[in-house]
């Protein structure tokens, strides 16, 4: 019998009133890949934090290679060969990628830039990833930063690798490459614990699936004997025996209730002409882009992250000005006044792709975060804030979106990642927007909520909103979009109606093939 | 029984000039008379009323404010505390029944310093460095120029202000800059900044004229002499007059004849530096000041 790499015994963690993890026991054998599943707020990240020395468990034991350990600091975990990619990664914005990898590994002495850069390239090559070692981490988009985190974890020798939602911001190609790495590590005997909301990931690379519900481990079984519907049921109901059964019907993957048909008679809400956008570092993000979005349609902006999507959405939201060309939304023109405030007043909602940078203010309560986007509308009063109304709205959102929180006064930073995202969505869709800029709206959401959100977006479309959906997920695009435009390396393909194309074509465009 | 006296100082007793002088005065008075003394240092302008009132309430018999800025607060409160004598130094105020002031003739002291400086200068350029231009310092500054001009009319008198009473480093640097511009005799008024001037002069090997305290000890090769401003004398006289009951609510201006100001002896290498004729001129000048024939005081 082999000694398990990691054994958790009755771990528990409470945050004030909330029991994040309750008596969880779990074992990982060498060379085993275990998926940790569960709804938003189920306690997955808390487990990760306890294994990696970020938080101390209230009770319970952790055994590594058969020996009990106390992981009081991340150093303790690192020293014992535990690598981690956190859900909310911590990077130093003004470090280069190479410096980021050197941090904590290089000695106090002189840094040889050449060696560091070669190091980055070596690790990146191992997983077939492109990475400029001299790029400033802060200038990368979330997906790029996620890649840096993965490189960071892989740059050390580990016997246990913990990945918290590693694929949430990765393109399918990058995810596939990551899985290759995971398989290679598995072959070397490394144990891997992977938190994910994508069931496809489970079946692609995992050996076992462990499902959490409200802090409890409700099932732990070989993937071979699990079914997708069964896992979903276990997550949602918390019922231990569900995972192997066909399961309950759930909202996820409901088919569109209207076939994708581009509208042609409704007013044009968003109009982009010959748009050129530069990145902060001066490189070209978008060039010669042109499209219209009409009321009542969903235009998908497909493409691998980092191909200008963030820049485009930020421009359309008024945060940046075009470097050439024009954009017009609901009568606001980018060559006139073009500010977030004006656009918001014109009815633009914006689900940002970098939630923690733009979307939330961690220290403030849910209801204070609720007001952020409606600050310049009379909704919460003109001079005096109508805080009661904001709390009512927040309470309603908590019910409607099933946000796991102690209430509207809890600081939003205390919520799990998925629950933060739910509040952002609730806020943006609150006032019946005329235009919705939705960048990865389902990023970090559990599978049930994804279904609900897709449903809401469709309803918003049917109610006449013009929606720009940024996504790298072909399933999501297929489920939602009426038309699609693809960005790859600064060039645009399309737009074309979904009915006139197929996923293979879109995939090819995303890879940059015309 | 024991008289209780409070001395309220604007600066620190260790400043080596303005505040030290007052403190030395009260300490020697303590040895001379049967008194109990409280000294309150570093009193910001904003705190003056609070401090004066507190002393008065606590029943002090004499409250001495050291500096012109005490005059007005004293005038505002004195009537409510008729059993306390309020005395202001370096100011000219008085009021029935219990306010008197003791002022030294700073202008005359400046005149004396200017005369000596003009006599010993080789370069014909001399300088005065003041802390902040408060009235007494401006008096000294004017007297200094006047005295120098009385010796030779081609003398160049430089003058500069530090902008602070306590910034000794800046005091030294300003002095250095005057020396670079040719001054070979410097003098200084204020508080700690004076120490800076003396150090800079010593370092550059030029001469300095002390003020207030006899500062010969501090730099024997540098200090020609000191234009004494005997603020200790103010205190001694005030305390003495309160004790023997002779104090009146009036302005006491202490000049050369009242020992309010004076000239320290020339010592060390400076004893021989001046010719007999020059020494006679100095004696004459002192006599003229005493008799009122010349003065450095503003008109």
């Amino acid at each position: 019998m082999t000694v398990p790499v990691l054994e958790l015994t009755r771990l528990s963690k409470r945050y004030g009133e909330v029991t994040a993890v309750a008596g969880l026991s779990l074992k990982l054998e060498p060379g085993e890949v275990v998926a940790l599943l569960g709804e938003n707020g189920a306690g997955k990240s808390t487990v990760v934090n306890m294994i990696t020395g970020m938080t101390r468990p209230d009770t319970g034991q952790i055994h590594l290679q058969g020996k009990e350990v106390h992981l009081d600091t991340p150093r303790d975990a690192l020293d014992r060969g535990i690598g981690v990619v956190h859900q909310h990664y911590a990077l130093v914005g003004n470090f280069t990628v190479a410096e980021t990898l050197a941090l904590g590994r290089a000695g106090p002495g002189v840094l040889d830039r050449k060696v560091l850069h070669a190091d980055v390239r070596r690790v990146a090559e191992r997983i077939g990833m492109q990475m400029d070692p001299a790029a400033l981490v802060g200038s990368l988009d979330v997906a790029g930063q996620q890649r840096v985190e993965i490189l960071k974890a892989l740059s050390r020798k580990v016997s246990l690798l913990v990945l918290d939602e590693p694929t949430a911001v990765l393109s399918p190609e990058d995810a596939a490459r990551l899985f290759d790495v995971v398989r290679a590590l598995r072959a070397d005997g490394v144990a891997i614990l992977m938190v994910t909301h994508r069931l496809a990931d489970v079946f692609a690379v995992c050996d076992r699936a462990a499902v959490m519900h409200a802090g409890h481990l409700v099932c732990d079984l070989p993937v071979a004997s699990a079914t997708k519907q069964g896992l979903i049921s276990a997550m949602i109901s918390g019922n231990t025996d569900m995972a192997q059964l066909p399961g309950l019907p759930v909202q996820a993957n409901v088919l569109p209730d209207r076939p994708p048909t581009p509208v042609s008679d409704t007013p044009i809400r968003v109009s982009v002409r010959n748009l050129k956008l530069l990145r902060a570092n001066g490189s070209q993000a978008v060039q010669g882009l042109g499209f219209d979005i009409r009321a009542g349609e969903i235009m998908a902006l497909a493409g691998i992250d980092g191909n200008g999507q963030s820049e485009l959405v930020q421009c359309l939201a008024g945060l940046n000005l075009p470097d050439d060309g024009t954009a017009e939304i609901c009568g606001c023109r980018s060559d006139g006044h073009w500010t977030p405030r004006l656009l918001r007043n014109a009815g633009v909602a914006h689900v940002p792709d970098d939630r923690r940078r733009y979307g939330i203010i961690s220290d403030l309560s849910l209801s204070a975060n609720m007001m952020l986007s409606h600050f310049f509308s009379p909704r919460y009063g003109r001079t005096v804030l109508d805080r009661a109304r904001a709390r009512d709205d927040t309470r309603r959102a908590i019910d409607e979106y099933d946000i796991r929180t102690t209430g509207p006064d809890q600081p939003i930073g205390r919520l799990s990642g998925g629950n933060q995202q739910k509040l952002v969505l609730a806020r943006e869709l609150l006032a019946g927007p005329r235009v919705i800029l939705a960048a990865h709206p389902s990023r970090g959401l559990d599978i049930r909520t994804i279904g609900a959100v897709q449903d809401i977006l469709r309803r918003q479309r049917d109610a006449g909103a013009a929606i720009l959906l940024v996504s790298a997920d072909l399933d999501e695009i297929r489920a939602l979009a009426d038309r699609v435009v693809v960005l790859a390396a600064g060039t645009a393909f399309g737009p074309v109606a979904m009915a006139d194309t197929d996923m293979a074509q879109i995939g090819a465009w995303m890879a940059g093939h015309a | 029984d024991t008289l209780r006296i409070a001395l309220v100082l604007p600066g620190s007793v260790t400043d080596g000039t303005f505040n030290s002088a007052a403190n030395t005065g009260i300490q020697s008075a303590k040895e001379k008379y049967d008194i109990e003394v409280s000294v309150r240092e570093n009193t910001d302008f904003a705190e003056i009323s609070e401090v004066l009132l507190s002393y008065a309430r606590e029943g002090y018999d004499v409250v001495i404010g050291h500096g012109f800025q005490f005059a007005e607060p004293v005038m505002e409160i004195h009537a409510d505390y008729p059993d306390t004598w309020f005395i202001v130094n370096a100011a000219q105020v008085a009021a029935e029944p219990n306010v008197a002031s003791f002022d030294n003739r700073w202008g005359d002291a400046g005149y004396i310093a200017g005369t000596v400086a003009a006599m010993v200068t080789q370069t014909g350029t001399i300088g005065h460095i003041g802390g902040i231009p408060v009235p007494v310092i401006e008096d000294y500054n004017a007297g200094f120029a006047k005295g120098a001009a009385s010796v030779r009319d081609d003398v160049k008198v430089l003058s500069a202000y530090v902008g602070s009473f306590s910034d000794i480093a800046r005091g030294a640097e300003i002095t250095t800059s005057l020396i670079e511009q040719g001054a070979d005799v410097v003098t200084s008024t204020g508080n700690e900044n004076v120490v800076g001037t003396i150090q800079a002069a010593e370092k550059a090997g030029v001469m300095a004229i002390g003020t207030a305290f006899d500062s010969y000890e501090a730099a024997p090769d540098t200090i020609v002499t000191t234009a004494l401003i005997n603020m200790g004398e103010n205190i001694d006289q005030a305390v003495g007059k309160v004790i023997d009951g002779s104090i009146e609510p009036k302005v006491y201006v202490l000049g050369l004849s009242e020992n309010g100001i004076g000239l320290a002896p020339f010592r060390g290498r400076f004893e021989t530096m001046l010719s007999d004729a020059q020494k006679a001129d100095i004696d004459q000048m002192l006599a003229d000041i005493e008799s009122g024939k010349v003065t450095g005081q503003p008109e």
Binding site: Y358, I361, F375, V384 | E41, D44, P135, G163
Partner: protein, 339 residues
């Protein structure tokens, strides 16, 4: 029972060590530590005169503390309270001759307004430098402090000097321009009411108004503020004006309520204390007067020590410093809730 966590215990022990050292120093200076302590607390807070003096001192600390709290809330570090206070007082004093003849009910508010305006202008200069040129407000306000000090030094020897032209100070305000004294026998002026009103106004601004929300959001996350349509530059400029306005008001309240005229050093050291006040109050407007009163009492009590004991003056600063550290430790101990 109050259960202390590990940090609090360490803090308490550190504090005890400081206190012991302090008591040792006092004993070394030949005073009874207990007597010193009794005077500090008794004269600082408990006697009628001490209480009145503490209230007098807490007026400018409250007003400036409010200003600092506002700006720090927006993530704008206004270190320029001293300068804004001086310029506020100076501008008001420049207007005094025009206002003098007017009836007091009109003139006094106008005088306070002028002070407020002066402070706002001085703060606004830093605001423009920051909002328009991206200059760092910390340096800008520090530089403006030094400039203001010298400006006032010149003004009271130049254009604003009293007509006699002897003393470096302005002319005295006429009675109609003085804030009335609230209680006979004290120096406590209606400035106390001004400060109280300012507390309520700033509390309202911060906790209830949209502007206050924008401030807080900008301070916590400027990117998110931009996302929500708030312009951080506008916030920075306006909050420096507001913060300066409160400091300017403090300046003229000090002059009109206490000193009667402009003179050098009439409000020395308020700026840095105001920052401490605001931070100890956790930038919460309703805690500001509490913290201000605490500091004021500390200073009044220290004053009594300097007067009544043989403790050498510098040691008074050591006592003050130790007590500030004690304030800090007390603040972290029972996690004070925001008002």
């Amino acid at each position: 029972m109050l259960v202390l966590d590990r940090d609090s215990r360490v803090a308490l022990m550190a504090l005890a060590a400081c206190a012991l050292l302090l008591l040792g120093l006092i004993a070394l200076a030949g005073e009874s530590p207990l007597r010193v302590l009794a005077i500090l607390i008794g004269d600082g807070f408990l006697t009628r005169a001490g209480l009145a003096d503490a209230l007098v001192r807490s007026i400018p600390l409250t007003l400036t503390g409010l200003g600092v709290a506002l700006s720090f809330r927006a993530g704008v570090f206004n270190i320029g309270v001293d300068g804004q206070l001086l310029i506020g007082a100076a501008l008001a004093m420049a207007c005094a001759p025009i206002l003098g003849p007017l009836p007091s009910a009109l003139a006094l508010p106008l005088l306070l307004l002028a002070g407020t305006l002066g402070g706002a202008i001085w703060g606004g200069i830093a605001g423009i430098l920051k909002a328009r040129f991206g200059a760092n407000e910390i340096i800008a306000t520090i530089m403006l402090n030094y400039i203001a000090i010298q400006m006032v030094s010149w003004l009271i020897r130049g254009p604003l000097q009293e007509p006699m032209g002897i003393f470096p100070r302005s002319e005295k305000l006429t009675a109609s321009l003085r804030l009335p004294i609230l209680f006979d026998g004290t120096r406590l002026s209606a400035g106390l009411i001004v400060a109280a009103l300012a507390c309520v106004a700033v509390w309202f601004l911060v906790a209830r108004s949209r502007y206050g929300y924008a401030l807080t959001v900008t301070g916590k996350n400027a990117d998110a503020a931009r996302y929500g349509g708030i312009q951080p530059a506008v916030i920075a400029f306006s909050v420096l004006c507001l913060s300066g306005a409160l400091a300017g008001l403090a300046g003229i309240v000090e002059v009109s309520g206490l000193h009667g005229r402009l003179q050098e050093g009439f409000a020395g050291g308020i700026g840095i204390t105001a920052i401490a006040v605001a931070l100890l109050a956790r930038l919460s407007p309703l805690w500001v007067p509490v913290a201000a009163f605490g500091f004021a009492g500390l200073y009044v009590g220290s004053d009594a020590i300097a007067r009544l004991t043989a403790v050498p003056f510098p040691l008074v600063h050591v006592i003050e410093g130790t007590i500030v550290l004690a304030f800090l430790v007390l603040q972290i101990m029972p996690k004070a809730k925001d008002l």
